[in-house]
């Protein structure tokens, strides 16, 4: 008898627990699941509201993937995302390593470096326009120091497929994010292990690569996952600062959706699904790779 009572109480607690988890789960399942189901269905030809219903129909994917410009767009998207992520990572780690040291005006600096985290990407884009444009501040400074005497001689940074303007905006915004995440991890683990390594005679390089780096690795992984996913799906910076056709995939998708020919929306949805697929595959293999590494070094 007491056992069944205990069991009933246990069951009540479980139910209560799931009730508490319910609201947040519902929101995400409905929004995510809805978007996923509709996105995939529509990219496969299910759009009765346009009078199109040829589900399942792979012709939209075939048309999209058969187009050489899709692959050029994909290449550009990945190029901007990867370069910006790597640069932010390196600059962010260096910044975090400097921040754990003590230095005068550290309090002020800790306010200052977080500013880009607090403001929208569009501000970063405005700053890129005023700094890096051909009539921008850097160009003026170069003219002032006598390197160039005409705006057209200034190397084109914005509106090219090299995309240094886009990358500069991403790095400007994401270096503080990486630095903050890794700085927090560094504060959490403390310096005892580094001290131990130093006493045992390790040099600076050994301490960094064999002690510090493995400790901050979880922070590195999570922050790069987040910024890489963001960079793949980013729209505003490539739209304003990019070199035009071929655009990055999110811009391509957006153009399909704003096309007067509404049947192109299905192609747009195929583009959207492709973005999600590419991001999913890359992030999943990245995580799987990291898990294997963790297991190899003996962290569960």
């Amino acid at each position: 008898m007491p056992e069944t009572k205990e069991l009933a109480r246990h069951r009540r607690e479980r139910i209560w627990m799931w009730i508490q988890l319910m609201p947040v789960m519902t929101v995400l399942v409905v929004l995510f699941g809805g978007a996923l189901v509709l996105g995939v269905a529509q990219s496969l030809g299910f759009a009765p509201w346009f009078g199109v219903n040829t589900f399942p129909d792979f012709s939209y994917f075939a048309a999209l993937w058969g187009d050489v410009f899709f692959w050029k767009s994909l290449g550009l998207t990945l190029y901007y995302a990867i370069v910006a992520t790597l640069l932010s990572l390196v600059f962010g780690i260096l910044l975090a390593l400097a921040l754990v040291r003590t230095f005068p005006s550290k309090t002020l600096y800790k306010y200052l470096y977080k500013l880009p985290l607090m403001i929208p990407y569009t501000v970063g884009i405005a700053l890129a326009v005023i700094m890096l444009g051909n009539g921008g501040m850097l160009s003026r400074l170069m003219a002032f120091t006598g390197f160039i005497d005409d705006p057209s001689q200034f190397p084109q940074i914005l509106k090219t497929h090299m995309g240094w303007g886009i990358i500069a905006v991403y790095v400007w915004k994401q270096t503080p994010f990486v630095a903050l995440t890794i700085y927090a991890v560094l504060l959490g683990v403390g310096r005892e292990t580094e001290e131990a390594a130093a006493i045992l005679g390790a040099n600076k390089r050994q301490i960094f690569f064999q002690v510090t780096l493995p400790q901050i690795l979880p922070g590195i992984i999570s922050s790069t996952l987040i910024i890489f996913a963001f960079n793949i799906g980013a729209f505003e910076a490539p739209f304003i600062l990019g070199g035009g056709f071929p655009d990055t995939l999110p811009v391509v998708a957006w153009r399909y959706f704003n096309d007067a020919d509404y049947t192109l929306q299905l192609q747009g949805m195929a583009t959207v699904v492709s973005i999600a697929l590419v991001a999913g595959v890359i992030l999943y293999s990245y995580l799987a790779f990291y898990r294997r590494y963790e297991r190899r070094i003996g962290r569960n």
């Binding site: 607090m118 405005a126 700053l127 998708a253």
Partner: protein
């Protein structure tokens, strides 16, 4: 000897390169704001002058149309409208997010159950699914159910990127809280409601404030989802700025609007530095 090398390898102070690096980063982050501020006061700024040839104030009386800051504060620029929209959406999103995340964070901090890691991974999905993908797909749905271009639609999609942060910060708070105090109160005969009101909430408050501030911050910074869902009918500060600079040029009024868009970030930075400890981020993102 050993002690000497250790003190060299583990210097608490900055090395000369690190000092230089910190200066460069500060210049990279803040430097561009200098020409931006100058531009917002300029009327004519020809290449290659380092300062504008004609300032806005000199032309102010001669021009029929409002210039530079006059334009920014005039109703034509929609700055006030966008600011109010941003604050309104941010507040509603924060409140809803708090209400749905508090119970879930409590469970995640205290209970162990089957499928918990999977559930936690699911909750952080919004951080790693590209915004463009989710935004465009949801836009299609929202157009059909009539939510596109409405406040409700924008508020709903803002929940997606804010939930993961809120959950992480609140879970960290609950983990730090422990169960002892609530049990003590229960033993002393307090009711569930009394425990919540007199014990749990006061102890949670600092963390809740931090989470709310952070959620508000994330919401005010969202561009893409607002841009897609707003359909041009509802402007917020990021989308307003986007429409001003989408041509790839920046005149005095656009520079002024950029500065206005920066102000809420500065205010939030000053407040959050007091409320959010750096360690909280480590707990949130470290795993």
């Amino acid at each position: 000897m050993a002690r000497k090398t250790s003190s060299v390898a583990l210097n608490e102070r900055l090395g000369p390169y690190q000092k230089l690096y910190l200066l460069l980063v500060a210049g990279f982050i803040l430097g561009p704001f200098i020409p931006l501020i100058i531009q917002s006061f300029a009327f004519r700024w020809a290449w290659p002058d380092l300062l504008p040839g004609t300032w806005w104030l000199e032309q102010r009386e001669k021009s029929i149309l409002p210039l530079a800051w006059d334009y920014v504060i005039s109703p034509y620029s929609q700055v006030w409208e966008a600011t109010l929209n941003t604050i309104y959406i941010g507040c509603v999103v924060t409140v809803i997010c708090l209400i749905i995340c508090l119970p879930a964070a409590r469970v995640l901090a205290r209970e162990r159950f089957k499928g918990k890691p999977a559930f936690e991974f699911f909750l952080s999905m919004p951080l790693i699914v590209p915004e463009a993908a989710i935004g465009i797909a949801l836009l299609m749905i929202f157009i059909h159910i009539g939510l596109a271009g409405s406040y409700t639609g924008i508020i709903i999609v803002h929940l997606i990127p804010t939930i993961p942060y809120m959950i992480r910060m609140l879970t960290a708070v609950y983990q730090g809280l422990g169960r002892d105090f609530e049990e003590q109160a229960m033993i002393l005969g307090a009711s569930r409601w009394q425990i919540l009101r007199l014990v749990t909430l006061p102890m949670l408050l600092p963390g809740v404030v931090a989470g709310a501030l952070f959620t508000f911050l994330v919401s005010t910074n969202i561009f893409l989802l607002t841009f897609f869902m707003g359909q041009g009918k509802i402007v917020t500060l990021p989308t307003l700025l986007f429409s001003k600079i989408s041509g790839g040029t920046l005149d005095a009024s656009a520079a002024g609007i950029t500065l206005v868009v920066t102000v809420p970030g500065i205010i939030l930075l000053l407040i959050t530095e007091r409320f959010i400890k750096e360690e909280a981020f480590g707990k949130g993102f470290g795993n």
